[in-house]
Symmetry: C2
Subunit: 203 residues, 2 copies
DNA sequence: TGTTCTAGATTGAACGCTCATTCTATGTTA
DNA sequence: TAACATAGAATGAGCGTTCAATCTAGAACA
C-alpha cells in the first residue's frame, strides 16, 4: 500500500461517504471507546465494507484524527457566536453550562478522555489533538480577552491564556469527575464551578 | 478455570510475587498504556512467566483494579499527614503542588486518564475506581472540612463536598491540559490554580 | 543423614479468538 | 469501454488465557 490513500474522483460523493464513516465511527467510539470499536463494527454501522473504509482513510488513527478535527469548526463557530452576542460573558456562561451538561453524561464523557489519553500515547493522534487544541484555545482566548476588556481589565496575553487554561481544565476535570464519581452532587459542584468561571471572566 | 484464582499457600512469598507483578505492570502501563501493554510484556518486566501471572490475578483487569487500590492507602496517608501538620492548609497546598507537578509529566499523565476512561467502559474497573474514589474523596473532605473549620467557616457537608470536587476536577483537568497542550504556560496557569484552591480553602 | 513423597510454584507452548489491513474479483457509472 | 467504487475473503499479527509438564521446597520416613 502506498503512503497515500487512493484519491477519490467524485468529490461530493466521496465527501458524503467519508462523512458516513465519520458518523458511524463517532457513534461506535462513543458507545464502545476507541479500542473497543473495531473497523468491522464501524463498517457495519456505516453500511460499507470494512475494506472500503481504507479507500477513504489511511488507517484507524486517521479516523480519530478526522473526528478531532471536526471539533475545531464547531467550537470556533461557538466562540464566534459568543463574541457576536449582545452580552458575550453571559453567552459564554450559557455555552459552558450546556457543554458541561452534555459531557458529564455517561455516553459522552469517556471518549473525551480517551482521545486525550491516546494523544499521550500515539504521536499521530497527538499531532491532531495539539493542532486542534491550539485553534480552539485561540478562539477561546480571543473571546475571553474581549470579555475582559469589555469589563475594563488590562490583562497581558499570558494572563488571558492562563485563565483560559484553567477554565478548560475545570471543564475537562468535571468530565473526569463524572466518571470517577457517578453520584456527584452536580447542583453544588456546578454552582461553585460557575462562580469560579464567572470570577475568572469578571474579576 | 474456577471463578477464583488459586490460593497461594505461602503468604509472604505470594504477596511479594504479587507486588512484583504490580510493580512491573505499573511500569508497563505508565510507559505504554493499559491497552498498549500486553501480559507478555508485563511478565517479562516482572521476571515471571505469562501463564503464572494468572496464579495471582484473575485477569488483566484485576491487575488494573489492584493498581487503583494501591492509591487508596497512599492518598489516605497523605491526608493523614496534612491533618497532623501544624498548618494543614499550607500542608495541603504543598501536597497538591507536588502532585500536580508529578502528574503533569508526560510519563504520568496519560495513565491517570486512561484509568478513568476505562472506568467509563468497563464495569469491573468502574467498581474499583468508584470504591477507591469514595475513600480518597472522603479523606480529602475530612481534611478540607478541618481546614475550613479552623478558618472559622461553618459549611454544610454539601459545600465541603462541592469544594472537594472542584479542587479534584482542577487537578484532573490540569493533567488533561498537559497532554492537550504540551506547551502550556505552567507558571501562569499554576499561579491562578493555586489562587483558586487557596480561595476554596480559605474563603 | 539421605531418600522419597507431596503440594505448591512455575514455565511456556498451545489455543482460540480478534484485529487492522490488503488485495482480487466484481459492480457501477459516465 | 475505462475508470472508479465496492465487497468481502484472506492475511499475518498479536492478544489474553489455559493447561500439561516440570521444577522446587519442605515434610515425613527409614
Amino acid at each position: 500500500m502506498s503512503a497515500d490513500s487512493a484519491t477519490p474522483a467524485d468529490q461530493p460523493r466521496a465527501e458524503a461517504r467519508r462523512a458516513q464513516i465519520l458518523d458511524a465511527a463517532s457513534d461506535c467510539f462513543h458507545a464502545h471507546g476507541f479500542h473497543g470499536s473495531s473497523i468491522s463494527q464501524i463498517s457495519k454501522a456505516a453500511g460499507m465494507s470494512a475494506g472500503h473504509i481504507y479507500h477513504y482513510f489511511e488507517n484507524k488513527e486517521a479516523i480519530i484524527a478526522a473526528i478531532v478535527e471536526q471539533d475545531i469548526e464547531r467550537l470556533q463557530e461557538m466562540t464566534d457566536d459568543m463574541r457576536a452576542a449582545e452580552n458575550p460573558l453571559e453567552a459564554m456562561m450559557e455555552s459552558i453550562d450546556a457543554a458541561v451538561a452534555e459531557h458529564m453524561q455517561p455516553d459522552h464523557a469517556p471518549l473525551k478522555l480517551e482521545i486525550v489519553a491516546e494523544a499521550g500515547r500515539n504521536p499521530h493522534i497527538a499531532a491532531a489533538v495539539h493542532a486542534a487544541d491550539a485553534k480552539i484555545m485561540g478562539a477561546f482566548e480571543e473571546t475571553i480577552g474581549l470579555i475582559r476588556r469589555a469589563g475594563g481589565h488590562q490583562d497581558d496575553s499570558r494572563e488571558i491564556r492562563g485563565r483560559t487554561e484553567i477554565i478548560s481544565a475545570l471543564f475537562e476535570g468535571l468530565i473526569a469527575r463524572s466518571i470517577r464519581n457517578p453520584d456527584i452532587d452536580k447542583e453544588t459542584t456546578l454552582r461553585i464551578f460557575r462562580q469560579i468561571v464567572r470570577d475568572l471572566l469578571q474579576r
